[in-house]
């Protein structure tokens, strides 16, 4: 889990072009959107692509994204839960 969280932090920084943000700046429990990292609706769609491309997990309903992408930790949990299915 910890390893996955670190990996995700790096991937998020890369695909969302988060300049001047280091993995250690992101708390695994902090909200990614709004007051957290300030991500927006395009970032949310880009995270859907990330899950599919890097983890083979397809999110059919973008509205599910709100829960899955709440924080890096919720993302990691979702991946672990769905990857082996």
């Amino acid at each position: 889990m910890e390893e996955l969280i670190e990996k995700l932090k790096n991937e998020i920084i890369e695909v969302l072009n988060l300049e001047d943000i280091e993995p250690e700046d992101i708390d695994a429990d902090d909200p990614l959107f709004n007051e957290g990292l300030g991500l927006d609706s395009i970032d949310a769609l880009e995270l859907i692509v990330l899950l599919e491309k890097n983890y083979g997990i397809k999110i059919e309903d973008p509205r599910d994204g709100r829960k899955i992408f709440f924080s890096v930790k919720t993302m990691a949990e979702y991946i672990i839960e769905h990857q082996n299915n």
């Binding site: 969302l16 072009n17 988060l18 300049e19 001047d20 300030g38 395009i42 970032d43 769609l45 880009e46 692509v49 599919e52 491309k53």
Partner: protein, 214 residues
């Protein structure tokens, strides 16, 4: 009613010139690094910049320099400022990158944050968002810089009393070839109150041609 060019900025050949004077140069001869160095130099302070494609980065930075220096976003209401841009390559550079994401059926991952930049007017949107500019906006595509059209169309817009100020010019980016030239046009009557003669340039096609060459 006549109009005046109150300030202008050229970015090309790894140089940034403001009102004809070199203001920034960099040893970075790769666009990505050059524009990042310029962003830092001008303390742009807008993390969304790094999400933009190269065309938008170029247009955004040129505009941001001019808008901040001139204070037009405080002088005029958002509706009173227009953005009329032009280029030759449209968004072709990012079009090619988006096409690459769909060429291989086994590695097919089109990216929404890339696709949105396959439109040249997104750079006008980025500038508008940053500085709350809400007036007339359009992007025209010409084979090469067209001072006559920019002059006559912006003049027409400003005569119609809709605009008191217009950001206009040329922003082109394709495969590391880049060139931007943006200028601010304001009504001469307004300008005369704050500036002395010699501090502004008459808005005319031949002047645009001259300033474009830098």
């Amino acid at each position: 009613m006549t109009n005046a060019i109150t300030t202008y900025c050229n970015i090309k050949d790894w140089l940034i010139k403001i009102d004809g004077q070199t203001d920034f140069s960099s040893d970075e001869k790769e666009f990505r690094k050059f524009i990042r160095a310029a962003y830092r130099n001008y303390k742009t302070g807008y993390p969304k910049f790094f999400k933009m494609d190269n065309l938008s980065k170029l247009g955004f930075l040129t505009a941001d320099i001019l808008i901040k220096r001139s204070g037009i976003a405080d002088t005029y209401a958002g509706e009173e400022i227009g953005i009329i841009l032009s280029n030759s390559s449209s968004s072709l550079d990012t079009d090619e990158k988006h096409q690459e994401t769909i060429n291989d059926k086994d590695n097919y991952f089109p990216s929404p944050s890339m696709f949105v930049y396959t439109l040249p007017n997104i750079m006008a949107g980025e500038i508008s968002i940053r500085h709350k500019i809400k007036g007339e906006n359009a992007v025209f595509i010409f084979e090469r810089f067209n001072p006559e059209f920019l002059y006559s169309y912006i003049t027409e817009l400003m005569a119609g009393n809709k605009l008191k100020c217009c950001l206009g010019g040329w922003v082109d980016y394709y495969q590391d070839h880049y060139e931007s030239f943006l200028f601010l046009v304001e009504q001469t009557e307004t300008v005369k109150r704050g500036k002395k003669a010699g501090e502004y340039i008459i808005f005319a096609p031949k002047n645009l041609e001259k300033l474009f060459k830098g």
